[in-house]
């Protein structure tokens, strides 16, 4: 069973989703929870069976899909993807468990299960085409979730979300096809296997174009400034569960893809574009943090804060060294947990008051102390307080990038200031002061069901803040191999310098480019 655990992880929820059509409406929630718990347990088993000492891919599976065109169903996980997969399983579970009285709960759960399939698929795929399939497919359930259960402007938001990301990824598809073509030119064989592509060294000029094509797809997904405007709408309109999964997992696809594709495939282009991307990332960090500060709707604050944090992740990724990339991978998980939790928390208050405007609240700390406490912890985690999960990632990302540019890191570091500004302000508006609104005076505090979802998140936030090593070990193991690969593949002098050489003398098999285009 372990041989196929990844396939099982991917298709078990889908199968359960199909079977879920048969389950009666009233029992659907229990069914969903059961399925997602099984899935989560399976993912934990995957972790258990995962060999921390191995830096490469594990649990590889391979089946021919379109061998004539080099498309194969290849799966595998390494330290980078493993934890995101677990996170995906975890958040689906938490999400379903925390579902409140949603209309059409059956459709919702089936959709969530399908979404889970695509999420796990993206992170487990080792074939660019399979990756692309899951990447695109993930849009569909999300579209439905936003569009069917969302707020007032849900249709606009969902279409914007879909089309924007769809357009970006189509450009990426062209890039993928080009990449396969270059591989074909070099070796005479079609292949979409990422591991095959890793062995291909491209001339720098090709790298730049391909990088740009991939970048557009990934950047919109992340979303990077200036492609970010779909996100506030999507978050603002999506139901709680949608926002949670969007923030926790779906956004990570973009940053994950940067690490999986852009860096190892195009080390020179990555170096070339490092500074411009870092500038974009800094704009993301500061600009969106300021925009978040100006928001009136608490969910929008969290939404913009997500963008801001994604900026740090991007920055860490493009540090091109082990510290930075490990940090960004860790921050993906950290931000997933924290942003997911914050959206859940916003959902809690929304369920009670059906508004998300901060001006409607105030003084909640005395009415809902437990809620305020959990919110406070998560806020502090979001701000990046040490010993919470986010700090580790942010610290490492910034630390990593510092090697590349001092002044840019200094600017990026403003994140910790502006982040504190909008978060504390929002917290103050909602929880501090006197209770002014009559409706707020008798709000019930968080109930058991909500606690079931929130307490584990708090525990993870602190546990991984104190003991990140469980994750950081495997992550940095795999990152090291990627960085080494990049260094070995780098063509330009600049890249050779920028990307550290971790171990002298390790040679990978390389295929040089034959014949131009």
């Amino acid at each position: 069973m372990l041989d196929h655990i990844l396939s099982i992880l991917i298709f078990f929820p889908a199968l359960a989703g199909v079977l879920g059509f048969v389950v009666h409406k009233d029992s659907m929630r229990a069914y969903g929870i059961a399925v997602s718990i099984i899935e989560f347990a399976l993912s934990l088993w995957l972790w258990f069976a995962f060999d921390n000492g191995v830096s490469g891919m594990q649990f590889m599976e391979q089946l021919p899909l379109i061998p004539a065109f080099g498309v194969n169903y290849i799966l595998g996980v390494d330290g980078i993807s493993l934890f995101i997969i677990i996170l995906a399983a975890f958040f689906t579970m938490i999400g379903i468990a925390s579902l409140t009285d949603t209309k059409d709960v059956k459709n919702m759960i089936v959709t969530l299960l399908f979404l889970q399939m695509t999420m796990v698929g993206v992170f487990a795929a080792l074939d660019a085409m399979v990756f692309y399939v899951f990447w695109e497919l993930s849009l569909v359930p999300m579209l439905y979730i936003i569009g069917a259960w969302g707020g007032e402007k849900r249709i606009y938001a969902s279409i914007k979300f879909f089309l924007y990301t769809f357009a970006g990824s189509l450009v990426m598809l062209v890039g993928v096809l080009f990449m396969a073509y270059f591989y074909y030119q070099a070796t005479g064989q079609w292949s979409f296997a990422i591991l095959d592509w890793y062995r291909l060294i491209l001339p720098e000029s090709f790298q730049l174009w391909l990088f740009a094509a991939f970048f557009l797809g990934f950047a919109i997904k992340v979303p990077m400034f200036p492609f970010h405007t779909w996100l506030p709408y999507a978050h603002g309109q999506a139901p709680t569960i949608g926002s949670v999964i969007l923030a926790a997992i779906l956004l990570k696809m973009g940053t994950y893809a940067f690490i999986r594709f852009s860096l190892p495939l195009f080390p020179d282009a990555s170096t070339f574009f490092m500074i411009p991307i870092a500038v974009l990332a800094i704009i993301m960090i500061i600009y969106t943090a300021m925009v978040a500060y100006a928001q009136k709707d608490v969910k929008q604050v969290v939404a913009y804060s997500s963008i801001s944090h994604m900026g740090v992740i991007i920055l860490g990724t493009f540090a091109l060294n082990v510290e930075g990339i490990s940090g960004s991978v860790f921050l993906m998980i950290g931000h997933g947990v924290v942003a997911g939790a914050l959206f859940l928390l916003v959902g809690v208050i929304y369920d009670r008051r059906h508004t998300k405007l901060m001006s409607e609240f105030g003084g909640l700390a005395s009415v809902m102390p437990k809620y305020a406490t959990i919110f406070g912890i998560m806020m502090m985690a979001s701000v990046g307080l040490p010993l919470t999960i986010n700090f580790v990632g942010e610290f490492l990302s910034l630390l990593g990038f510092y090697q590349q540019s001092h002044i840019l890191t200094l600017l990026a570091g403003v994140a910790i200031i502006v982040g504190a500004i909008y978060m504390l302000t929002a917290y103050k508006k909602m929880f501090f002061g006197k209770v002014t609104k009559e409706e707020n005076k008798h709000l019930p505090d968080v109930n058991k069901r909500e606690l079931i979802a929130l307490i584990p998140l708090v525990m993870i936030t602190i546990w991984l803040g104190i003991y990140p090593k469980v994750l950081l070990g495997p992550i940095s193991n795999s990152v090291e191999s990627i960085v080494q690969l990049m260094h070995d593949k780098a063509v330009s002098h600049e890249a050779k310098i920028r990307i550290p050489n971790l171990s002298e003398g390790v040679e990978i098999i390389t295929i040089s480019q034959q014949g131009g285009h």
Partner: protein, 502 residues
């Protein structure tokens, strides 16, 4: 004048078999009707299905022969059975087999009540088969007209105002296109003294394209003529009206079969010109392809009727596929067939979904047969049908892993390998634009409230029978599990295309 001595073997009459079968079938139907009128349509449907089945087997036989002996020609070299001919006939006959059971609707419609419909249908198939299985422009022309004339009638037989209007429009524009075709053929005849494409190509290249001006005039007329058949902008204007006017089933059929025939002939005709380095043609085709894709896409954005939207979308798809001819590599030509095979599943499925929801009289809130409003909140009242419809829409939009994605992917890849990176990008971005209008239907189905909940889901399956459901089931399975079929299809198609020298 010496007597003509011809051996029957040299005629290679077997090449005619696949075309003769539907002709014989059509005559059979006419004869049956003559002896005993008033028989139920189910008889004719099944009869046609059987005939097409035999036809399909004949094609399989030809395919086997092709695999062994390569390209065959027969009957004084008029018939040309190469890979393209066989592949396109597979699509023609296969799509027809999927189409014909759609006649077994729950509600009664005019055309299916008359056996002539089925006879004309079979004649039309034979016409298309002749059209693709030759490189003689006369036979192309005659086959085309046979098929077209039958098609006009089929459209009109739906027997209501819009269908007559559609038929007349189609007919008149078709007549003009026929004029263009004959003029174009005349120019090439004047240039080369031949009306066989091989021969034309040989003479032209022997001349070194000295009369490039004449060639271009001829190509211009030919492009206009095929542009009409393939609905290239600005020769596409008939498409939306005709699709709207005909029954949904026939519209779906029209979006597939006549076009593949047109593609094959264009491939035969334009490919050698492209390869001979007629830059003009490349430029013009490039413009045509891009304009067709883009313009049709943006017009589809503003449609209020699903069928009309699908009409524009199929124009856009045709433009997309036309790129294959521009690129002109083996990969691109294979991609054309792959695309069209996958497209036929999806598009027939989509139109069939419209077909089963066709009402006889319009409720007040509906502006047309298949207005978007009609599908509001479909997920609430008939979730299964809505999901299937959404599936087809996603497939048409090119969302993986559904059928059409693989076609798109392979087509874009062929643009990439063919050295058309910008075109590849435009193709990709057009898919994104197209996403909007496919989504629009999904939005209506999944995200809006039903307009008349009292009716329930019945309105969406008012026309459904077992036969229709089976067809839709086929299409659904084909659309979802396309990724399993892509490899065999691709290998099959590539070997056929490659062995035909394209």
């Amino acid at each position: 004048m010496s007597p003509v001595n011809i051996s029957v073997e040299s005629l290679n009459l077997v090449t005619l078999a696949p075309m003769l079968i539907p002709i014989v079938g059509a005559l059979l139907i006419l004869i049956i009707d003559m002896f005993k009128g008033g028989l139920d349509k189910s008889l004719y449907v099944m009869l046609s299905l059987l005939i097409l089945f035999i036809d399909f087997n004949a094609l399989l036989n030809s395919a086997g022969v092709f695999n062994q002996n390569g390209t065959m020609s027969g009957v004084f070299d008029v018939m040309l059975i190469d890979g393209l001919a066989i592949l396109s006939q597979f699509i023609i006959v296969g799509a027809s087999m999927l189409f014909i059971p759609l006649a077994l609707t729950h509600k009664r419609f005019h055309e299916f009540s008359y056996p002539e419909f089925f006879a004309l249908f079979l004649f039309m198939i034979a016409g298309f088969q002749f059209m693709v299985a030759t490189d003689n422009l006369i036979l192309v022309f005659v086959g085309l007209e046979t098929a077209s004339l039958a098609l006009y009638t089929l459209i009109a037989m739906h027997n209501r105002e819009k269908s007559f209007e559609a038929a007349i429009k189609y007919f008149t524009m078709g007549a003009l296109a026929a004029g263009f075709f004959s003029f174009g053929a005349m120019v090439f005849y004047a240039l080369t003294g031949s009306i066989e494409i091989n021969q034309i190509a040989a003479v032209l290249s022997a001349n070194g394209y000295a009369d490039i001006g004449f060639v271009l005039i001829g190509v211009a007329f030919m492009l206009a003529s095929f542009g009409f058949k393939l609905s290239m902008v600005p020769f596409h204007t008939w498409t939306p009206d005709v699709y709207e006017g005909s029954s949904a089933a026939l519209a779906g059929y029209m979006s597939i079969v006549p076009k593949i025939a047109g593609f094959v002939v264009s491939m035969r005709f334009f490919e050698f010109l492209i390869h001979s380095g007629v830059v003009w043609l490349e430029v013009v085709l490039y413009i045509l392809v891009v304009v067709t894709m883009t313009a049709a896409n943006i017009w589809a954005l503003v449609q209020t009727d699903v069928k009309r939207m699908l009409a524009y979308s199929s124009v856009s798809h045709a433009g997309f596929v036309m790129a294959a001819i521009l690129i002109g590599t083996t990969q691109s030509n294979s991609a054309l067939f792959l695309y069209w095979i996958l497209f036929s599943f999806t598009n027939l499925g989509a139109f069939s979904m419209l077909w089963i929801s066709r009402q006889k009289n319009l409720p007040t809130h509906q502006s047309s047969d298949h207005s978007f409003e009609k599908f509001s909140g479909m997920i609430k009242t008939s979730p299964m049908a809505a999901s299937v419809m959404a599936l087809f829409m996603l497939s048409l939009a090119g969302v993986p892993p559904f059928a059409l994605f693989w076609g798109k992917m392979y087509m874009i890849s062929s643009a990439v390998t063919g050295g058309y990176p910008v075109l590849a990008l435009i193709m990709a971005l057009n898919s994104a634009i197209a996403g909007y209008y496919y989504l629009k239907l999904i939005v209506f189905m999944f995200m809006k409230e039903p307009q008349t909940r009292s009716l329930g889901g019945a309105v969406y399956v008012t026309n459904a029978t077992g036969a229709l459901k089976t067809i839709i089931g086929f299409a659904t399975i084909g659309t979802i599990f396309a990724f399993l079929a892509v490899n065999p299809i691709l290998e099959f198609v590539t070997s056929f295309v490659y062995n035909s020298g394209y």
